[in-house]
């Protein structure tokens, strides 16, 4: 029973996203499994489980690292763990120009090039928290942001 509850917890909780805590990346430990309560009217039971988990919630102003997964004229999308961050072309430093002809498409300046799978460091400018996902926009227009080797 306990192992069932445990696996159920892992299955139900890991990888989900809530507005309050952000993404629940992994359950570290289960602190306490409460007594089950059979729900009247059905054969189901409810257990209150306290657990410790690694969560990830991006905040405005936070500097995070991610991997570029799409580059377009408007900017590029970066995967920061489970969060998708969009870096608008306006929040990219002016000397990085979009080069649609390159393959894959990229933003390039003299010393940096951002294309798919490039690792970038960015600052989160704003977030939108939905019920099932968090979306953010980021900027690499500040110092020390941009491509990381």
């Amino acid at each position: 029973m306990l192992s069932y509850l445990e696996s159920k917890l892992y299955a139900d909780v890991e990888g989900t996203c809530s507005g309050q805590y952000g993404y629940i990346i992994a359950v570290v430990s289960i602190l306490d499994i409460g007594k089950g309560m059979v729900l009247s009217g059905s054969g189901q039971a409810e257990f209150v489980i306290r657990y410790r988990a690694i969560v990830f919630k991006p905040f405005k102003g936070e500097v995070v690292d991610g991997v570029v997964n799409m580059v377009s004229k408007m900017g590029f999308f970066v995967s920061v763990g489970p969060v998708n961050v969009f870096v608008s072309q306006q929040l990219i430093h002016a000397d990085m120009k979009y080069d649609p002809n390159s393959n894959p498409p990229s933003y390039a300046s003299e010393d940096q090039i951002i294309e798919k799978d490039t690792k970038v460091r960015l600052q989160i400018v704003g977030t939108r928290v939905d019920t099932t996902e968090i979306f953010a926009i980021g900027s690499i227009k500040e110092d020390h942001l941009g491509v990381i080797e």
């Binding site: 408007m74 969009f86 929040l91 939905d130 953010a136 926009i137």
Partner: protein, 1106 residues
Amino acid sequence: MADYQDDPMNDFDEDEDYGQPREPQTDAGRSKGKTAREDDEEQEEGYPERDDDDEEDDDDDEDDDEEEEEVGPKGKKRRKHRHKRSAVSRFLDVEAEVSDEDEEDEEEDEDAGAFIDTFDDDDAAEDMSRRHHALLDNRRQFDEEDKSPEQIAKDLSKRYGGRAALRYTGDLNDVPQRLLMPSVHDPSLWQVRVKAGRERDIIFSLMRKSIDLEYTAHPLGILSAFQRDSLPGMIYVEARSSKQVQQAVQGLVGVYISRGITLVPIEEMASLLTIKKQEQTVQTGSWVRIRRGKYSGDLAQVMDVTENGEDVGLRFIPRIDLTPRDENAQDVAKKRKKQPISAGAPRPPQRLFNYEEITKVWGRKSVHHKRGNIYIFQNDTYHDGFIEKDFKVSALILDDVNPTLDEITQFMRKKDGSDTDAVVDLSVIAEASKKAAVTVLQPGDHIEVFEGEQSGVQGVVEEINGDVVTITAVGLDIEGQKVEIPARSVRKRFKPGDHVKVMQGRNIDETGLVISVTDNVVTFLSDMSMQEVSVFSKDLREAAEVGSSTNTVGNYELHDLVQLDAQTVGVIFKTERDSFRVLDQNGQVRLVQPHQISMRRDSNRAIANDHDGHEIRIGDNMKEFDGEGRRGSVLHTHQSFFAFIHNREIAENGGVFVTRVRSLVSVAPKGNVFKTPAADLSKMNPALAQPNGGMVGSGAMGRGPRDRHIGLQVTVIKGPHKGYVGRIKDTNGNIARVELLTGNKVISIDKEKIRKLSPDGKLESLDSRPAWGGPPGGFGSMGPPSGSRTPFGAGSKTPNPYAAGDGRTPAWNASSRTPNPYMDGGKTPAWNASSRTPNPYADGGKTPAWNASSRTPNPYATGANAGGNAGGWGGATPGRSNWGGATPGRTAWGADSNESDGWGGSSWSAPTPAAAATPGFGIGQTPAFDSAPTPGPAHTPAGVFGGSSYAASASTPAATGGSWSMQGSRPDTLDKDWLFDPAVMPHHNHIKIQLHGTKQANYLGGEHEGKRGRITAGTKAPQGYEQTATVLFEDGERRSIVARYIEPVHPTAIDEEVLIAAGENKGSTMVVREVDDDMCTISSKANPARVFSVSREVLVSLYDDQ
């Protein structure tokens, strides 16, 4: 005489506008007017020493005035001179000295050149005058002390009397109007009717006439005349009498004296002359919209404004018709004018003037090229692609222009289409949208002051009061202070990262995250389209929600199944502003405008089976059996082949994907499928699907609520459409919608008026059951079996050709469109076996006849087995549902028959010994016949049957037919839920039950099979749940048992107490008087004489421990 107009840019100077023209030109008025002007001048020239005393030397001033006119150009000198004079005159208060002063002035005037020299003596002179003044003052004081108060008062009034009116004239600039209101003493104002449009000319004629006659013997007696643009067809003349007016306008063309010269009431005179300050002054460079005509609504930029402010030169994007009608193209200019733009015709699109294009269409001659980029075309000037044209202010909309960014960028665009480098002049737009900005501010908005003293201050709007907003400043020094700011000088402030929503405009309801802010243009990344959108900050609000309100475009909304063309359907997975993204059945994404959609498809009735053959319904959670294993809920199915599935978690295509239904399996556990007795069986069993025959392709066959008449070929037998043949498309109550074969028409018609048209051309009543529906011949063939019932019932001593033969006659099969298991199955052991009741017919099943039939390769038998296992036999097909014992339909049926033919009460239950005693009779009531769902009772009068004419009927086919129809109404099987029938439930504690079927189902390991017991507790659970009851077995064990395994124990012995569990006397306890194979004769304990014969099957033995 002046010409009055509304516009402020009048040629006359303002003083004259307000004052002088109304000044009566009498002497008094004249002096008044002069004084006014003169005082003005004095003010303008800024005498520092000027004081009230000035007013006293009125005459003196007047003289002065004349001097000034003479002096004319020698302004400087005059100024000096006046300066000096007034320096003296400020001390003058004796009239007598005025003349001296005048003389002196004149002298000085004459030797203008010597002025500078005399100026040097000023100090001495001033000294002198001061002394002199002191002396005078003293003297007066003495004088006045001597005088009596009366005398003083008299003197004062003498001195100032008669000047009261003039005293104020000096303040004309400050209180010009109020005190100048006309009175009865002033000349009157007369209204004269004139020809509309000629008012101005007439006024000018009047003026010339007045000037001409001024110095003649008979000058015009009028004082002024004016017209108002706002009052067409009228001029106003100021004169003492109407006669003078008449004289003045006499002989002028266009004046309608005959229509009378009307006096304007005094109180209206002022309002007639009030010039409405024009609030909107058109400024060069501002944006306006054109009110009327071809360009109505178009944005235009003001290039210049004429002096009178009436005409405005505009620059805007032309709409030149590049596809003129042929005759048009020929000689453009001439015809063009006469051709009004017809209202209905679409106006040509906005397009910059392009010389090449125009000449191509309209011919080279039509365009005149002037220097530079200027062309003349159709009398309009085109410069740099824009049309430049003068408009009247009245033809323009100056308010709420609200130019959009798009419109303005069009203006900024160079002719070649490239954007100019210069960013849009935002200030211009900001200006234009300022007014609107006030209205969109809301408390709580973050704002920023961008002009005025407080420029740069940021804050939060606290309250809005008209045009003033109170803000709580957020910032360094004045943190927290409340500041009042005009609304027009604040703008909403957004920071990158804010989540905003567009409140108005083209992008309304878009939401997104702000990416950048430049002045008042905010660029954000739309949540929906992931596109960048630029809007004015005034149109934005901070918002938490994600834009979703635009799920509907036109008549279609998100996740609708739409028909794109004959072959293609698709599901809308995304709505955009005016288009959709549609995923079609081939998995392609299309961008579709609403008009490209031919219709919305309703897939509610579509049928599709998944990989396991289970029916897929909309909303089911399905999983891909192969491939990517995607899962989601079914949105739509199409042609039983494609399924559109939605899963929020899939990012692609808004979570919608298309797959083949055959590759889907249900996510829900299999058991659920069986719980819904909803007819999957028929689909699982190809054999059952087969006999549908005529209904090929009708997917709806075999589904619950559908009217079985739908699809029938019918003939109209009454009414205007009599004789027409058609097909029933739909039914509603007793109205059928029939699609006629001819005329391609669908009519609604009473079912009474139509008859089924059988393939052989015969007409039958709609209600005639297909099963029996057989042509009369069918009945005939039924006859013999009926007749043979006696022997059969008696133990089936005769081999019975009935089951085998009848069931297989082609006539039968042909006519039956609904698979009726009862016709065959009902008589077969198969059926009986599947029914849960230990059935007397099981015995019958042992007779060769029954066996024979049960052994026939009978598709229904198979079906029966399958159904039996599922426990949902009765409900498996509509056909069965309707007829099977378990459905309400069946119940209703039984009830009906009972009532309608008085089955139990009168005829059947009539305790005729014959009926009761004749085994043949009883046997005649084979379940097969009973369950046969004839609407029969209606066919034959009850009497036929009830009249004990059974023997006779058995021998005559006709009578048999009668009895046939009667037999349909015997309730002799138990409901599936019999156990929970309200009539039965009170007896739970006593009824004898046994478990049956647990072995097959392996329920509790089958250990309890056949065990008997009684119910100790049982409550009907809501639909959809497994019914259970607690059973106390005879061996003392008590446990909860699923109700479907509980079967009643039927009586086997005489004098056993029984409960009737179905039929009319349901719920009553009786005593068995006689037991037959399948019939029992029972009577109540109380009245043993009253006997019934009922099917053994509906009787439940009771424990006699009461």
